[in-house]
């Protein structure tokens, strides 16, 4: 009875039905992708699907192809074979800056902060995708450019406050601790307003408190509807926040499932987790 009611209701409102269909479809779909560098296969026939609002962890040993996979999604590396789709749009023929404007942002493993800018300016660059002032209009400082600069500054301060770095806004990035630099990288990526956030080893080099803070932030982003794809070697910490875990080894996907399924997967234990780490 209840099911019939909903069916009748959505049939009467095709707009809503289409919206619901879109929400139920995977936000990211990777189909059978491969890439090789100088004959060495880095990613081999990997397929995966990411639902909107999920936190997905991709784990695996060094050289498993995790970072390469992220760079293929953001277009920073050319795809050899296969297809990548984001919100029903094929990505693998689009330039990286266009991919960013579609709603995908990456935080790099080494963060790559701009050392020639202050902390707040780093975050302001993150706002580039949703602003539009050009050479002439900025040079002439037209009224709408001033208004846009104001909203960029406001958004950047907002993201810095979110990660707790508002007091460091005018400092040089090099004056920040490693953990703060990780947070700044995250704030900069969030300033772009991503729908899909790609985090490359966000916990690398952090102490326990900093890891906890990053985890809380990621969970907060999930509540805001942001889909998060995390590449990480520290399996323990991602197992606690991920909805699903994908394991890569030598560029191939060897397992996919919930954290508990992965922790009890014999192949994963044998090749990656080891008996000591399983269940952690």
């Amino acid at each position: 009875m209840k099911g019939n009611f909903f069916r009748l209701n959505s049939a009467a409102n095709p707009e809503k039905e289409r919206e619901r269909d879109i929400m139920e479809q995977p936000i990211l779909e990777i189909r059978d992708i491969s890439v090789a560098f100088d004959g060495l296969v880095a990613v081999n026939r990997v397929s995966l699907s990411v639902r909107r609002g999920d936190i997905i962890a991709i784990v695996g040993p060094n050289g498993a192809g995790k970072t390469t996979l992220l760079k293929l999604i953001t277009g920073l590396l050319p795809l050899f074979k296969g297809e990548i789709w984001f919100k029903q749009q094929r990505l693998d023929r689009i330039a990286p800056h266009r991919i960013a404007s579609l709603g995908i942002t990456q935080v790099f493993q080494d963060i790559q902060l701009f050392s020639n800018m202050s902390v707040i300016e780093n975050v302001m660059v993150g706002c580039h995708v949703w602003t539009g002032a050009d050479f002439l209009s900025t040079g002439l400082k037209l009224p709408w450019v001033r208004a846009e600069e104001g909203s960029i500054l406001e958004a950047a301060m907002d993201k810095l406050s979110l990660v707790g770095l508002e007091q460091k806004a005018f400092a040089a990035p090099s004056s920040l601790s490693w953990g703060q630099q990780k947070l700044l990288g995250l704030a900069r990526a969030l300033a772009a307003g991503p729908e899909l956030l790609l985090l490359d080893e966000p916990y690398g080099g952090l102490i326990a408190d900093e890891m906890e803070k990053i985890s809380q932030l990621i969970l907060g982003l999930q509540c805001q509807g942001i889909t998060v794809l995390i590449v990480e070697q520290l399996t323990g910490v991602v197992m606690s926040i991920a909805n699903r875990v994908i394991v890569l080894n030598y560029g191939e996907k060897i397992a996919e499932g919930t954290p508990s399924e992965i922790q009890s997967n014999e192949q994963v234990i044998a090749t990656y987790l080891g008996n000591g780490l399983a269940g952690k």
């Binding site: 277009g75 790099f108 900025t138 450019v145 005018f170």
Partner: protein, 330 residues
């Protein structure tokens, strides 16, 4: 937020003070210093464009003399052969030079920075051979003469003084344009892709910056600055020849940018002022110190002073100002 406001106010205060100094200076100086200041104005405009290109976007150019020359020649041709107004010719020359630079930039800027530097260096030679070959249009190796002067009839009758105000008003307007540009979305995008000074093309792209578009646009912008200076130079001198726009000028402008400092458009005035001033000082005082021809000694002293300046102020003269004036980081 307050730091940004303070920085903005200091910037405007600096610009206002600069305008007052420029207005008063001719009242205190004789004809010769005014002529030197006109030269500094030309160099400042070209150097400012180069600072935005090299200091902010991280793209090396050793070919700014080509765009300076293009501005001069296109203006010269349009005024002498097509009898256009010098003001209209200046605008058309700037548009044409910007267009040519955009075409060259699109082909060249995909390459690595050092290769780009090499290509721009080669542009000087291409331009020289082109100008000397197109004799009917450019006058060939002997150059173009009878280029009409710019005039503002009834306002400033004295010719050098007129050019002083003309050059410096344009330099001043371009300074404001440049300051607005570098402290904006565009300026941040340029700095984000500047691999020579802490930026990263990869990260910039991942944040939505279309690096190829920005590289081409900033290259064209720097060429437009040089073209404007070239046009006024042609009107000021009245005759131009290809040797004026050679590799030496390109290298001189790069030295000015380095000495002045590439982290601010203000560096252009410091660089151009110090290099032109130094040259004039050596020319003036070397004969007092050494008997006979002093040309070689002037060059040696010039070289030593430049090397010392680079050793002790690697960030350029602007770094002294940065130490004196608090930076808002924006």
């Amino acid at each position: 937020m307050s730091k940004i406001l303070l920085s903005g106010h200091l910037q405007y205060f600096g610009v206002a003070l600069f305008a007052i100094v420029l207005l008063i200076l001719p009242l205190l100086a004789g004809p010769y210093p005014i002529a030197v200041l006109v030269d500094i104005g030309f160099y400042s405009i070209v150097t400012m464009g180069l600072i935005i290109l090299m200091g902010f976007a991280g793209q090396i150019s050793l070919g700014q003399a080509v765009f300076f020359g293009l501005g001069a020649y296109v203006s010269g041709i349009l005024t002498t052969q097509y009898h256009l107004s010098p003001w209209l010719a200046l605008v058309l020359a700037a548009i044409a030079t910007g267009g040519i630079a955009a075409i060259i930039g699109r082909a060249m800027l995909r390459l690595r920075e050092l290769i780009v530097a090499g290509v721009t260096l080669a542009l000087n030679l291409v331009f020289y051979y082109l100008v000397t070959s197109l004799v009917d249009l450019t006058g060939g190796a002997s150059g173009m003469t009878n280029i009409p002067r710019l005039s503002l009839d009834g306002f400033i009758p004295e010719y050098t003084l007129l050019n002083y105000y003309l050059v410096w008003i344009i330099a001043f307007l371009l300074l404001i344009f440049s300051l607005n540009l570098v402290n904006s979305r565009v300026g941040r995008a340029l700095r984000s892709m500047n691999q020579l000074a802490g930026g990263s093309e990869e990260t910039a792209q991942a944040l939505g910056v279309n690096i190829m578009k920005y590289k081409v646009q900033v290259f064209a912008l720097s060429a437009i600055y040089a073209s404007i200076a070239g046009s006024i130079y042609a009107y000021y001198i009245g005759c131009i020849e290809p040797d004026t726009f050679g590799v030496q000028l390109s290298v001189r402008v790069v030295i000015m940018a380095i000495i002045g400092g590439m982290t601010s458009p203000w560096g252009a005035f410091l660089g151009a002022g110090s290099i032109v001033g130094l040259t004039e000082l050596l020319r003036e005082f070397m004969p007092v110190l050494i008997a006979g021809p002093t040309g070689a000694y002037e060059l040696i002293a010039y070289g030593i002073i430049l090397v010392m300046a680079l050793l002790f102020l690697p960030q350029g003269l602007i770094s002294i100002c940065h130490r004196l004036v608090p930076q808002g980081g924006h």
